[in-house]
């Protein structure tokens, strides 16, 4: 890409002060890519293993219930809820609502709080039961 050095550059990402809206925007992308690759591959592995044999499924289950498996599953659960909340926020923004600074900031912040709460709601009972 060639550019005319005589022309001004548009402001780069690095000069902006980080706010919740920017964080949620890049989180939406990061969680989306994470879900698409790790979630997609895990989902296909789960189904193919189940359709292949009890042994193949046992291998899947052994990996999924190892500490690493739990880490990935908890991560995917959070990524799903973050992407979901952020996606719901996008639906609101699509209608043209929620752009004034205060509402926009609160909305962005809320997606992060709700995604963590929903992840806890799913995993706290599972992890508590596993200990007993």
């Amino acid at each position: 890409m060639s550019r005319n050095p005589g022309r001004p550059l548009s402001p780069h990402l690095t000069i902006w002060k980080w706010g919740p809206a920017m964080a949620v925007s890049i989180l939406h992308r990061a969680t989306g890519v994470g879900l698409a690759i790790a979630g997609g591959l895990g989902f296909v592995w789960w189904l193919v293993a189940a359709a292949t044999s009890a042994d193949a499924y046992a291998t899947f289950l052994a990996v999924a219930t190892s500490w690493f498996g739990y880490l990935v599953l908890i991560g995917l659960t959070w990524a799903f809820f973050q992407h979901m909340c952020s996606g719901l926020r996008h639906f609101v923004l699509d209608t043209g609502a929620g752009y004034d600074l205060r509402t926009n900031k609160i909305g962005a912040f809320a997606t992060m709080v709700v995604s963590v709460l929903l992840t806890l709601l799913v995993w706290a009972p599972i992890l508590l039961m596993a200990r007993h």
């Binding site: 989306g32 890519v33 997609g40 591959l41 989902f43 359709a51 499924y57 289950l61």
Partner: protein, 129 residues
Amino acid sequence: MGNGTGIGRVRGLGSAKHGADHWWRQRVTAVGNLLLVTWFVFSLFRLPAHDHASVVKWMGSPLVAVPLILLTISVFWHLRLGLQVFMEDYVHEDGSKVAALLAINFYAIGGAALAIFSILKIAFGGVLA
């Protein structure tokens, strides 16, 4: 594309006229994902056991197999659109971009095909529980 008149120089360089379609399909599959993945997380959570026999028996029900197939279509379609935007934003060299977009399509269609075939095999009783 000509190089004589002004309109001749710019013809064919505009949008592909598929932007609104892409945007709309992303929203439609997003709503699909919202319903189906929420159902999926909730169902897995409520399943009393996650061993092979329980999962195969669970997936044998039409009310599980059909939503699971719809989920696969909705999710893989959505991720194909999303990954496409991701690559278009960050991969600028034409050759790599085409390779990346090809890989995404193969991944999305291949993954969905494997998943749907597996669900059907289980649902039609092709797997011993």
